[in-house]
Symmetry: C2
DNA sequence: GCAAAAGTGTTATCACTACACCCATGG
DNA sequence: CCATGGGTGTAGTGATAACACTTTTGC
């Protein structure tokens, strides 16, 4: 069914920037490439867009193939179209980023891929333009996280305020005043304090919180000033 | 040079959402389609990505073909990949939006295309998913304009504060207090008041302003709270 | 009892909003 | 001289940021 004549048809790939948070650092999930070219080198998890598959289906398939996870937060990042970005054959790539609860992942790893988590600021050399994709994802995540409560996607169901704060501090690479941070996050009304405490990382213990899922859904696109001095972003 | 075997190659198009401001309304430039299918129907200006062309080159080529303009602000909006979005043959489309000074355009229209400006909120029925693209562009423009001084791209070199304000009011579809607006915009230090005035739309005349290009370049990505109550955005 | 992390209140500053009057000019 | 749109200042309010001490408990 080639209806537009004399036009170039091009391979279309999807690459996934899969991010997780281990309680200390933001991590990136990479695989050792299995495709014929550049075999063994580190790359983002990716794949070609199939004949009957749109981008959402494709990105979900690719994520599931590697992690077994479904229903995860994913967002289109950018379409990369440089002519030589894949030196073997021209391929345009639509990059998606996914935010996952890293602990969920560990349970259902697909052993067919050699995959590994790397601290996002200390990754091995990546193939093609994948480093550019990662850099753009970091920037976009920062930008969004400054105004929207998106980082909860990286946390387990129950989490503590100190955990939440170190997540924000890791992403914005600076430290916040814990009183102001606590007040600001509580004022969103998105958090529900639990009765129990997390007692591994301190003697006194820190209260667990859960998301108020109703409010979270309603406020996902709302503007919340979540970090101090957002004017210093770029 | 087909190196990845058994993979589907797909047509890749670029569609341009070309926006201008005529002093009153935000306008969208549409063309009557010349391609074999859906001939005569209104659509965004678009074209296929060529063999040796990346997205930036392609979008610039398409914009220039229609308007004769170069060096215009363009930004990737989103990649659309629905399987059936083009019913004739599967085509993924990378949408770009361009902000142009509408008066420049009028001088160098390409008569080969039947092109016309429409108020962005009152467009004819568009082919394929082009309306979805337009809606997304409107939303993104609003979002960006609330924090970044992007709307100057739509204005001529010299403009007045009342003109600037009606641009913002058009885009955000509400009216602002002119004292607060003026103060806020002046506080960005991006404006340089000229000696002369625009005297067509009022007897007293309104001062012309120019952009301080140095500062503008430096602040293009900076955060400026340009509109009241940005929390009401989504 | 002490070290280590959690939790909590107050104050000063700044940014934002709401609001009303005078100015310049062409007719 | 008056109608039209342009330009400017102030005061009240709310949000933000800076800051230090007390609590808990495992060792």
């Amino acid at each position: 069914m080639l209806r537009y004549h004399k036009q170039t048809r091009i391979l279309v790939a999807i690459d996934c920037i899969i991010l997780g948070f281990d309680g200390h650092d933001l991590k990136l999930l990479l695989v050792q490439r299995g495709l014929e070219y550049e075999k063994g080198k580190w790359s983002l998890m990716g794949g070609f867009v199939q004949k009957d598959e749109d981008f959402e289906k494709g990105s979900a398939r690719i994520l599931k193939e590697l992690t077994g996870l479904e229903g995860v937060y994913m967002e289109q990042l950018f379409a990369f179209g440089d002519v030589k970005r894949d030196p073997y054959e021209r391929t345009v790539s639509v990059a998606y980023f996914a935010l996952i609860d890293i602990h969920q992942y560990e349970k259902q790893l697909n052993a067919d891929y050699h995959a590994e988590w790397f601290p996002i600021n200390d990754t091995p050399r990546l193939i093609f333009d994948h480093q550019e994709m990662v850099d753009m994802a970091k920037e976009k995540l920062r930008y969004k996280a400054a105004f929207h409560p998106i980082l909860f996607e990286l946390l387990p169901e129950k989490f503590t305020l100190p955990q939440l704060q170190s997540l924000y501090e890791g992403i914005f690479d600076c430290s916040f005043d814990k009183r102001n941070f606590s007040r600001k996050l509580q004022s969103t009304k998105l958090l529900i304090r639990q009765k129990d405490k997390e007692r591994l990382s301190s003697k006194r213990g820190a209260y667990y919180y859960k998301l108020d899922k109703r409010r979270y859904a309603a406020n996902f696109h709302a503007f919340l000033n979540l970090i101090p001095n957002p004017g210093n972003l770029k």
